[in-house]
């Protein structure tokens, strides 16, 4: 497979981008921020998983999902259920009328652990569930929709409806799900406290490592033939179909990948924030995640990470000092980015900074011989 050597997978600009991002996330931020702030960055990065998946689905595949919160939430809930069961051992919950079940079930007069919760006693099962439940759901949705050639606007509306359904269900069935407050008060992971500073550091670095795994997978997809087919589909779906490709299968695949990424992000959120609630499942967070992606650049997997980071930093800074301005700023950001910068930050970088950086790389010893483009990739423009 000489076709997939590193220099085919990444241009030197890509390598530089990965290195810079790694330096920022692994060196600069941990050294300059205290543990509370770093934990916040970790939370923002959990959204970056979703936005990287959105770059694949939306930027490359042209499938706009307004239901990524569903997968994020399911991933987060799967882990939260495991942690909650661990936190509600019979000793910890001896004051309840039924010890050994999560506190919110006790408050809702449930006396027995529901069967759905039983398997989440096992850590292995929970880890599998984090990945498999959202992916299987995405497969079912994708199969039903794409095989019937539902796409574009209709797909967006239906995914939106699905995220609305799940939110109503979680809030309505509070005895089984924790309701509107979600699953809170998580304490330990396999007997190891997740509330210490040390744990925060560990989760941050685990999160960054997982994010890079996702980024490499995404990079591989965009640079492989699969990525080219996705782009072709986005432009002229019928021509790809007439060339003998089963368009639906490619869409289903990329949608499932996006869902799996989002689920990992959700699980990282649960670990870092020690709770999961329906406010990360519904329509509003799902659309916000699309906006993070749009701000970063819908065609750039690295841009999507910066988009998630910067919008959230911006929100925190503005929200702490001028809470009433935040919605105005966010609204203007949406309209402005869509109208003026459809390719987001990455588009601005490509246009203004990339040529200069390229000239600089021509002189740099390490990068001089690295090809500035991969074998089959001319720049991809937004349609």
């Amino acid at each position: 497979m000489s076709n997939f050597s590193l220099s085919n997978l990444m241009t030197r600009q890509d390598v530089l981008g990965f290195v810079v991002l790694a330096l920022i996330l692994l060196v600069v931020l941990p050294l300059s921020l205290d543990v509370m702030r770093l934990n916040q960055v970790g939370k923002y990065l959990s959204f970056a998983f979703v936005t990287v998946g959105l770059v694949l689905c939306w930027g490359y595949g042209g499938i706009l999902s307004l239901g990524q919160g569903v997968f994020y939430g399911l991933g987060g809930y799967a882990l939260a259920m495991f942690l909650k069961l661990e936190a509600s051992s019979p000793e910890n919950t001896s004051i309840q009328s039924t010890p050994g079940i999560p506190d919110f079930m006790d408050w809702n007069q449930i006396t027995e652990l529901p069967w759905l919760w039983e398997p989440f006693h096992s850590f292995g099962f929970s880890l599998l569930a984090i990945l498999l439940v959202p992916t299987v759901l995405a497969y079912l949705i994708g199969f039903a929709m794409f095989k019937r050639r539902v796409s574009g606007v209709y797909f967006a509306i239906i995914t939106q409806a699905i995220s609305s359904i799940l939110t109503i269900l979680i809030i309505g069935q509070q005895g089984y799900t924790g309701g509107v407050n979600g699953i809170t008060d998580l304490q330990t992971l396999m007997g190891w406290s997740i509330r210490t500073d040390y744990a925060s550091y560990v989760f941050y670095f685990v999160g960054v490592a997982l994010l890079f795994v996702c980024l490499f997978i995404a990079q591989f997809i965009t640079k492989s033939k699969l990525g080219r087919i996705l782009v072709a589909m986005r432009g002229q779906e019928d021509r790809v179909r007439f060339s003998g490709y089963d368009v639906a299968n490619f869409k289903i695949f990329v949608f499932c990948v996006g869902a799996a990424f989002a689920a990992v992000g959700g699980a990282m959120f649960t670990l870092q924030e020690k709770f999961m609630s329906p406010s990360f499942v519904g329509i509003v967070p799902s659309i916000e995640m699309v906006i993070f992606c749009a701000v970063g650049g819908r065609l750039s997997i690295l841009g999507a990470v910066y988009g998630a980071l910067l919008v959230n930093v911006f929100r925190t800074v503005l929200g702490e000092s001028f809470p009433e301005l935040w919605l105005f700023a966010m609204g203007l950001l949406f309209v402005g980015v869509v109208l003026a910068f459809p390719d987001g930050l990455a588009g601005v970088y490509q246009k203004y900074a990339a040529p200069t950086v390229d000239r600089f790389l021509d002189k740099a010893p390490l990068f001089r011989r690295w090809p500035s483009s991969t074998s089959h990739s001319e720049p991809i423009k937004a349609s």
């Binding site: 606007v153 269900l169 809030i171 906006i291 749009a294 609204g331 980015v337």
Partner: protein, 308 residues
């Protein structure tokens, strides 16, 4: 779940929930009509549709305050003035939005979704800054306050009937305007074949703006009508948006009859199930059913037979 009730009880439960469902039907229909024009005819996803409705509601609130302060003798009729004002205000804002934002995005339908979502945030925060975060309610005129006792179980509130009448009137008006007037045929011509419509001398850009403004104006009327049956808060519009889009998509875009049929079936299903299963489960099951039906029939219940 039916076995706990006798046959007569079931009969009156269905009748009662059926009438409640009719009010919900009127609400859905009013919400969906404007969107059926904007989304069904123009293909623009207007996520700020709910906020245009809220604009109508706030205009009604302001009008009722003005009438109460300055023309108390005419208070019984303020609503009709308010409805016209709500239409005009929402339509004017709609035209402005079309001119500044939407017209640049016609070739990128998914991006209109994001831009209008941003717009909806801007509008929500504006309402919050101007009217405060608390919900406001209008004073319903006396003649709208009572209710008719139809049978022992079934009573019809006058305000509900009134909203139904508005829904029927607006539907008829939209039907006549879109399908029986020369203006409507021009709108449909632009939708079906833009270059040809332009070639025969229709100003397509102007048609777009007026169509969008009309859809927003109807949203304003809808919001105005809602003040008769509930209160209004800055972010109330967001709660409606999913229902509204589902009604339009389920009915089949570009079909008024489809919108009516889907609003009717969704509202009746939800209202009947609500009695037996509670509000949230009824909503979940209704939405789920609609989504599953849409998976098998993506084009919706009714479709225009047009060669593309």
């Amino acid at each position: 779940m039916f076995s706990d009730y006798s046959a007569t009880e079931l009969g009156s439960i269905f009748a009662m929930q059926g009438f409640a469902g009719l009010i919900l039907f009127a609400v859905f229909l009013l919400m969906a009509l404007g969107l059926a024009i904007i989304f069904g005819q123009m293909g623009v996803i207007n996520m700020a549709h709910g906020e245009f409705m809220i604009l109508g509601a706030y205009i009604t609130y302001l009008t009722s305050n003005v009438f109460a302060d300055y023309f108390p003798a005419l208070f019984g009729g303020y609503f009709f003035v308010a409805m016209v004002l709500a239409f005009l205000a929402a339509a004017a804002l709609g035209a402005l939005v079309e001119w500044t934002v939407i017209r640049r995005l016609y070739h990128r339908p998914l991006d209109t979704l994001l831009a209008t979502w941003g717009l909806s945030l801007l509008m929500q925060q504006s309402y919050r800054s101007i009217f405060g975060a608390r919900e406001v309610g209008v004073e319903v005129p006396d003649w709208m306050a009572g209710s008719f006792q139809v049978t022992d179980f079934v009573e019809l509130p006058v305000n509900g009937l009134f909203v139904m009448c508005i829904a029927v009137a607006v539907t008829l008006a939209v039907y006549l305007l879109m399908f029986r007037s020369s203006w409507g045929s021009r709108v449909r011509a632009v939708v079906q074949n833009r270059p040809m419509a332009g070639a025969v001398g229709i100003n397509t850009a102007k048609m777009d703006r007026m169509t969008f403004a009309l859809g927003c104006g109807i949203a304003g009327i809808a919001g105005s009508a809602f003040t008769m049956i509930g209160s209004t808060g800055p972010s109330a519009g967001q709660d409606y948006i999913v229902d509204t889009f589902l009604v339009v998509v389920f009915g089949g875009a570009a079909s008024i009859l489809g919108t009516v049929a889907s609003a009717f079936s969704i509202s009746q299903a939800q209202s009947t199930m609500e009695f037996f299963l509670g509000g949230s489960m009824a909503k979940v099951l209704t939405l789920l059913t609609v989504v599953i039906i849409l998976m098998f029939r993506p084009q919706g219940l009714f479709t225009l037979k047009v060669r593309k």
